[in-house]
C-alpha cells in the first residue's frame, strides 16, 4: 500500500474520495468538542472560566509539535526510500504545523495574562515552542527559495531532519527546567492526572485537531501535486516552442 499510492494519480483518486468524508467528520467532531469544552465542561476551581482556553491551546501545542515530527518522518522517508510523495507531504504539513504552533503561542499568551500576569515569559516551554515556530518559518523559506521541486524537497528533507532534535527538547522542557508552565499531566509516569469531566472533552478536541490536520493535509497535498503538474506542463510547453 505504501508503494501503491506512490503513484500521484492513484493518490489523487484516493484522496479525492476521502476528502469530503474526512472534512465532514472534522466539522462534526470539532463542533462536538467545542460545545462540550467551551460550554458544558465544568469551570476549574482555581482558574474559573479561563481554563476553557486549554481546550484550544493544549491540542494546538500538541499538533504543532506532532506536525514537526510528521515532517521529520516524511523527510526521513523521502531521503531513505525516495518515496515520490514524501516531500509533498512534508511541504504540505509545514504551514499547517506552523499555524498550530502560532495558535498555541497566541492562545497561551491570552491565557497567561490573566493567569500569570504576563503576556509572555521566557521560560523553557514557551521558548522552545517559539524556536519550533522559527524552525517552521525557516523550513518554509527553504522550500520557497529553491526553484526546482525535487531539489527543494531534498534540501528541505535535510533541514527537517536536523531540526527534529528540538522535538524531545520541547516535550521534556517542562520537566528538565523549573518553569512557570504547567508540567506534564497526560503523558507521564503514573498515568494522566486530569479528571474525566475535563479529560474527555480535551480528548475530543485532540481528535478534532488531528482530523483538521488530516483534511488540510489531504487538500494541500492534492494542491501541491496539481501545482507540480502545471509546472511540468508549462516547462514542456516552453520547450515545445512554437510548434505546440
Amino acid at each position: 500500500m505504501f508503494d501503491y499510492y506512490a503513484n500521484p494519480a492513484r493518490f489523487m483518486k484516493l484522496s479525492g474520495a476521502l476528502l469530503p468524508w474526512v472534512s465532514g467528520l472534522t466539522v462534526i467532531v470539532l463542533a462536538v468538542g467545542l460545545y462540550w469544552g467551551l460550554v458544558l465542561a465544568p469551570a476549574d476551581y482555581q482558574q474559573g472560566e479561563t481554563v476553557r482556553i486549554m481546550f484550544i491551546h493544549v491540542p494546538a501545542a500538541f499538533m504543532g509539535t506532532a506536525c514537526y515530527g510528521y515532517i521529520a518522518l516524511a523527510s526521513a522517508i523521502s531521503l531513505i526510500f525516495k518515496h515520490p510523495l514524501a516531500d509533498v507531504a512534508a511541504k504540505s504539513a509545514a504551514p499547517i504545523g506552523a499555524a498550530f504552533a502560532f495558535l498555541a503561542l497566541m492562545t497561551g499568551s491570552l491565557w497567561g495574562k490573566p493567569m500569570w500576569g504576563a503576556w509572555w515569559v521566557w521560560d523553557a516551554r514557551l521558548t522552545s515552542m517559539l524556536v519550533l515556530f522559527l524552525l517552521y518559518m525557516g523550513y518554509m523559506a527553504l522550500w520557497q527559495m529553491i526553484e526546482e521541486p525535487i531539489q527543494a524537497g531534498r534540501a528541505a528533507a535535510i533541514l527537517g531532519l536536523v531540526g527534529a532534535i528540538n522535538i524531545p527538547i520541547i516535550k521534556f522542557s517542562v520537566d528538565w527546567w523549573n518553569t512557570l508552565h504547567q508540567p506534564a499531566s497526560i503523558v507521564k509516569s503514573g498515568g494522566p492526572s486530569i479528571h474525566s469531566s475535563i479529560g474527555i472533552p480535551l480528548a475530543i478536541m485532540f481528535g478534532a485537531y488531528v482530523l483538521i490536520f488530516s483534511s488540510l493535509i489531504l487538500a494541500a497535498m492534492r494542491a501541491e501535486i496539481l501545482r507540480r503538474k502545471v509546472r511540468n506542463m508549462r516547462l514542456a510547453q516552453a520547450e515545445g516552442g512554437y510548434h505546440g
Partner: protein, 222 residues
Amino acid sequence: MNPFFALLMRDIRLAVRQGGGGGMAVGFFLIVVSILPLGVGPDLNLLARIAPGLLWVALLLSVLLSLDRMFHADYEDGTLDLLATGPLPLTLVVIAKMLAHWITTGLPLVIAAPVLGVLLNLDTQAFLPLMLTMLVGTPALNFLGAIGAALTLGVRRGGLLISLLVLPLYVPVLIFGVGAVDAVLVGPSPFGSPFLILLAITLVSAVISPVAAAAAIRLNLD
C-alpha cells in the same frame, strides 16, 4: 601530505592571504559590541549584568555573517565539484573546511571576546569562563552553520535565508553558553553543568553536521 591536511592548510592559507575572514568577523564583533551600550544606555551595572549575553549574541551574529565564506567561493569557481569527485570523501572535505573556517574565523573571535568584555564592564572573574565557553561553543556554531551554508549554496541572495535556517539551531548553544558564564558570576549552580551540555552539543554537531552538510552539498552540485 595526506589530502585532509592539504585541504585544511589550503583553506587556512587562502583565508589568511585573501584576508577579510577573521579580520572582518572581529571587526563586526567590535562594532556590534560598541553600538549595544549606545542602545541600552551606559549604566555600568546594567552592562555588567548583561555582558555575557550581549557578548554571546554578538558572537553569534559575527559567526552567522561569516558563514557564506565556507563553501560559496569554492562552489562558484567549481572547486567544490572537483573536491566532491576527488580521493577524499565529501564528509572529510566538509570537516576540513569547517575546521579551517573555525581556526581562521572562530578563534580570533574567542580571543577578542574578553577584550570586548572590558567595553561592557564584564567582571574579570568571568573572563576565563567566557573564553572557555566560547572556545567550546564556536565549533558548534561553525558546524551547525555549515549545514545552513551548504543547504543554501544554490540560492541566490540567500544571506537572510542562512540566518533564518541556522539561528533556531543556535539557540541551545546560546542558552548554555550564557548559562555557564552566568553560573560563575551570579548563580549558586556550578559552572560544570551548562558547560558540559555545551560540550555535548558541540560533539553531537561535530558528528551530525558533516554528514548533513555533505548531503546538502552533493544535492546542490547535481
